[in-house]
Structure formats: C-alpha cells, structure tokens
Subunit: 119 residues, 2 copies
C-alpha cells in the first residue's frame, strides 16, 4: 500500500462519516458512522460501523477497534477482516442507545476482536 | 491531569466539533471546528480552530498541530499555548477555501508552531 500524491494522508473528521468499509473480497459492507477518539492522545480508538449492504444485518452500530481497519488507498475506503459469522455476537447498540464507552465496554470490544486492549 | 471515572477517555468525532478551546488563563478563545485525521494511523494531526471570543479575529480557520492542544478535564475542553500575537501571521484560510493538506502545507503549519513534523 502506498500513499498517492493526490490522496495525501489526512481526512477531515467531517468526511470520515460515510467512508465505505469493505471486506477482503473488496465487497462493500457498509460505512463508518462515527469515530471515537481518545481525548488525550488524539488517537482514534474505535470506528463505529453501520453494516448494511451485502450483510443485511440491520441498522445497529458496531464499534470496532481502530486496528481492525486498514485504509485502502485504491478503494479510498477501509478494509476489515471480519465476516458475517463473527458479527453475529459482536458488541452493538441501536443508534439511539449509544452506551458509555467505559473501560469495561472498551475491553469487551477489543477482546471480541482479539485486539490488545490499550490501557 | 488525571482521568476521572465520569469523563472516560473517548469522545465522538461528532461531538468534537464545538469543543471549547482555552488559553492558559482559562479564557475561552474559540472552539474546534474540525479535525484532520491521518487515514492510515488514525492519529489526529490537526485541530482546525475557529478563534473568536476574546480574540475577535474573525472567522478564518486556523489549523493547529494536535500537539499544541492539551485536553483539560476540568474545563472539559482543550487548552492551547498560543497568544494573539502568534496568531497574527499564523496559517489560516477562509471556511469556503480549505486548502489541500499537502505535506508542504502541513510542514508549514508544524514549523509555525515549532512542533516537529511527523513524516
């Protein structure tokens, strides 16, 4: 993966919402709904994904650890290595009932995707 | 600075816009208008600030390197160590004419605030 001169490296938080998310086969799974950013370090910790498209699993929001996403310059979107089976029991919430992102909740999310918890 | 149990550590990108920015004296200078996020690492590189309030310097947008901001739990906002004099010649742009965040532009911004360029 290389950075092309025309994409540069940064994206406005305004524009992240709606950025497409793809699986390994390059099929669009859904899009980024929101980002959860560490207030102190400025590091994005979670991408909150709305899966739809080929998965057809409703409109719940799925927080994914940032490290499960890989930006793909060619697709101009994010690739994720998760499949539908894995999402069946994944942490999720309805749009109007966002939980507190407590350390306990965060650890649950990170553990689910086998990403080392960062605290 | 400590993290309190009630603020936790993350903030939605949706809510970052509008987060207040203060000077060292605790006076509100303006607010965060947007964030520029590294697509690959997920690290916030710039906070785009709209200074108003006591500075009264119009509605231009001022990109600041993330490391010039310090989250203040007590204020529930960001503190910056910049004064009005320093902003007089600072990189800025009108809202409707956002530049490309090229490496050259980024380096200009980082150099202006004496923050080491990250590439």
């Amino acid at each position: 993966m290389t950075n092309t001169p025309t994409t540069y490296n940064v994206i406005s938080s305004d524009k992240v919402e709606g950025t497409a998310v793809y699986n390994r086969a390059g099929e669009k799974l859904g899009s980024v709904d929101d980002l959860m950013i560490d207030k102190l370090s400025g590091q994005v910790r979670y991408a909150v994904i709305e899966f739809g498209g080929i998965l057809g699993i409703g409109t719940d929001k799925y927080p994914l650890p940032w490290d499960t996403l890989h930006y793909d310059v060619g697709l101009d979107g994010y690739g994720v290595d998760v499949d539908k089976e894995q999402l069946k029991n994944a942490p999720r919430y309805p749009e109007d009932r966002s939980p507190e992102y407590t350390p306990e909740f965060g650890r649950t999310v990170y553990d689910y995707y086998s990403i080392p918890w960062y605290l």
